[in-house]
């Protein structure tokens, strides 16, 4: 169990962490979600002792983290990279040894991972000779080669194509299913929605909402309804609903969570033949918007505007 309590960190005038707390459990995948600059990377670095915290505690299995515990962790930093000219099998072996494996165990683990990734025939190749997608997979293998108990992945799906997202997503998911504690950060909520068991939503350096993904979506006061009537007829929303969007595919409505879905469907069926109907808890993006008061895109745009204003003031 990883427990972070009340983490505070300032860099001069900038508050990076303002009381962030989170708990990650074994066998579950925790999504650590928020806009760029919310404090996700600083929090993850704090787990590895790369940040001197002003306040707060970082505990693993109920104790402060020491070098021995850290060797059982796997880390994929946001700024990732490996030695460009070193053979990929040698790199994985080296990292395995640094994490405490014997030379032979590290070599065996590297071979196993490269075989699983379909890269056994490229074991001696330097990283730069691999495609971007394969480099990303080797990068993830570098965090996994020693079979870590805790896996900290900072924006692991950034910059990947859909196929790469699916492949790496499956690899990460398998780690949690095998019993590892997995923490994965992202500012692209739609990418990780299908992966996470639990989420912590973070903004402005502190956690705003946490719990199992199912629970926090269920706790949202609204539900999203999709309906398509025959002939492309636009339905008249019932009094408690509002239209979110209408497209050629159909109409999206937002209704209170306590609306009776069967009665709603009956009402819509009276307006025409219902060809499609879905009654869903809202997506993570909507949960974030309601929790923080703005979408991730809006928060990041606001931060950029603030930065530009500060730059102008400094220049003036």
């Amino acid at each position: 169990m990883l427990e972070l309590r009340g983490l505070h960190k300032r860099y001069g005038d900038v508050t990076a962490l303002n009381g962030i707390s989170l708990t990650a459990a074994p066998g579950r995948l925790l999504g650590f979600l928020g806009p760029n600059g919310a404090g996700k990377s600083t929090t993850m670095r704090a787990v590895f002792g790369l940040v001197r915290l002003d306040r707060g505690t970082v505990h693993w299995q109920g104790r402060a983290i020491d070098a021995d515990a850290r060797r059982r962790f796997g880390y994929m930093p946001e700024q990732r990279g490996l030695y460009p000219r070193m053979g990929i099998a040698d790199q994985l072996t080296y990292l395995g040894e640094l994490h405490g494996l014997s030379a032979s165990s590290a070599r065996d683990a590297a071979t196993r991972w490269l075989t699983d990734l379909g890269l056994a025939d490229r074991a001696g190749a330097p990283l730069t000779e691999l495609s971007h997608g394969n480099q990303q997979r080797v990068q993830l293998a570098a965090a996994l080669v020693h079979g870590p108990d805790l896996l900290i992945l900072d924006e692991p799906l950034n910059g990947l194509d859909p196929l790469g997202i699916e492949l790496l997503g499956d690899m990460i998911r398998e780690q949690a299913e095998a019993g590892a504690t997995v923490v994965l950060s992202s500012h692209q909520l739609e990418l990780v929605e299908g992966l996470c068991d639990d989420v912590v939503i973070v903004a402005d350096g502190h956690d705003r909402l946490s719990g199992s993904l199912r629970e926090i979506r269920a706790a949202h006061p609204d539900r999203e309804v999709f309906v398509r009537l025959a002939g492309g007829t636009t339905p008249l929303p019932p009094p408690s609903a509002e239209v979110v969007a209408t497209t050629t595919e159909g109409t999206r409505l937002r209704v209170p969570a306590d609306v009776d879905a069967v009665q709603l469907l009956d009402g819509l069926a009276r307006q025409g033949t219902v060809e499609g109907f879905r009654f869903e808890t809202p997506p993570l993006a909507e949960v974030f918007r309601r929790t923080v008061g703005a979408s991730i895109t809006e928060v990041e745009a606001g931060a950029r505007d603030d930065q530009r204003r500060d730059d102008r003031e400094v220049a003036a």
Binding site: F48, G49, L50, R52, D68, R70, R71, F73, G74, Y75, M76, P77, Q79, R80, G81, L82, Y83, P84, R85, M86, Y94, L95, E97, L98, H99, G100, A142, A143
Partner: protein
């Protein structure tokens, strides 16, 4: 897993990486060949045969005079052979026919084809004539010419010594000082530059972020410094072996006695000076965001090396006991280059050697501690970091 094993793993990776680097081997081979050339070429190219002169003697000069002339020649590094003839005309005839180079005729005058002679031949003839007059005068006083001649024939050697009674081979000492200083400078600069490039590479391709997930910055810095230090000593061993082997093969000169001291101090200062500069170059690398930026962040340290070398060549070698030489011996940036040169020139009192080594060790300890802190503060920062910023930055615990 112990910290020692962590550092050993870093060290092993650095060694493997550098030993696969063609540039390391290229530099080692070029330097070895350079030293071999310095050892082998001078004996091969040197023309040690003394100039030979054939001189015709007339005006009653005898074979005994010719023997004296032949004996005096080597004192001025020439070889003189004589032929006694009866007539001056016969001597001039031989001169015209190129059978002799000069003729000593009545007067006495030394006749040559163009009316001039080398200083060595002229001086040898003049001394021999003067000696002959002395022998004649002694004979007139009743001292037999054979007795006087045997006294003059005794080999007399007047040694050249310093006030302490020590004699030195000035040229050999200067060459040794130059070679030792240059080798120390090249080894320090090349290997410190490798520390710099390795640090820049790890930072610019972000592998350091992955590594710091399990090890600390000082593990990385220590492993890197030790690995490159071992390689530097290995390079010196290869270069020295090449030079000594070549010297043995061509039957070259014996190393002067003081040479071993200069080499020993050179190796000692190479180790200490390498640690001093490599730590600073590691900081320069950690402050740079790219290889291009590293060329400017390493500027002050390169300047310190080159300024020290220029001062050694221009000031210390010509005046190895002067105030500037003493000051440079005590300053950590310049001592690694100054101390071996002064030992080679036998111009370094023991107290200055001890003080210079102690000051450099102290400076190195401070540099490594400061570098360790700055490295830990800047290695995770993206892009380039200014000096003031890196001094104020918070080090990774």
């Amino acid at each position: 897993m112990t910290q020692t094993r962590t550092i050993a793993l870093v060290l092993r990776r650095e060694l493997h990486d550098r030993l696969r680097n063609g540039m390391l081997w290229g530099v080692t081979v070029v330097l070895s060949l350079g030293v071999v050339a310095l050892v082998v070429l001078p004996p091969l190219l040197a023309d040690d045969a003394p100039e030979r002169y054939e001189v015709a003697l007339v005006d009653g000069r005898t074979d005994a005079f010719g023997a004296a002339l032949t004996q005096h020649g080597p004192l001025l590094d020439i070889e003189v052979a004589t032929t006694v003839v009866d007539q001056e005309s016969a001597a001039v005839g031989m001169l015209t026919a190129d059978e002799v180079d000069a003729a000593l005729v009545g007067g006495p005058r030394l006749v040559t084809e163009d009316g001039s002679a080398s200083t060595e031949l002229e001086t040898t003839v003049t001394q021999t004539v003067a000696q002959q007059r002395l022998l004649d005068a002694l004979s007139a006083q009743g001292i037999p010419p054979t007795t006087a001649r045997s006294l003059l024939a005794q080999e007399i050697s007047v040694p050249v010594v310093d006030p302490a009674g020590e004699s030195a081979d000035g040229d050999a000492a200067l060459i040794l000082a130059l070679v030792v200083t240059l080798v120390v400078m090249l080894m320090i600069q090349l290997n410190a530059a490798m520390v710099l490039s390795g640090t820049v590479e790890e930072k610019s391709n972000h592998v350091v972020e992955v590594l710091l997930g399990t090890l600390r910055p000082w593990h990385l810095l220590t492993g890197k410094l030790v690995a490159l230090g071992v390689l530097a000593l290995g390079q010196v061993a290869i270069i020295a072996t090449a030079g000594l082997s070549a010297n043995a093969l061509v039957g070259g000169a014996d190393l002067p006695e003081f040479g071993l001291g200069a080499v020993a101090v050179g190796v000692l200062m190479l180790v200490i000076g390498y640690a001093f500069y490599a730590a600073l170059f590691a900081v320069a690398g950690s402050r740079a965001g790219s290889v291009e930026e590293a060329s400017s962040t390493q500027g002050p340290f390169l300047l310190a090396i080159f300024a020290s070398i220029i001062l050694v060549f221009l000031v210390v070698l010509p005046n190895p006991t002067g105030t500037v030489a003493v000051v440079l011996s005590l300053l950590p940036p310049s001592a690694p280059f100054t101390l071996p040169a002064r030992v080679a020139l036998e111009a370094l009192p023991v107290w200055q050697l001890v003080a210079g080594v102690a000051m450099t060790v102290l400076g190195t300890v401070l540099a490594v501690r400061l570098a360790g802190r700055m490295y830990a503060a800047t290695i995770l920062a993206g892009g380039s970091v200014g000096w003031r910023e890196s001094l104020r930055a918070e080090a990774v615990p």
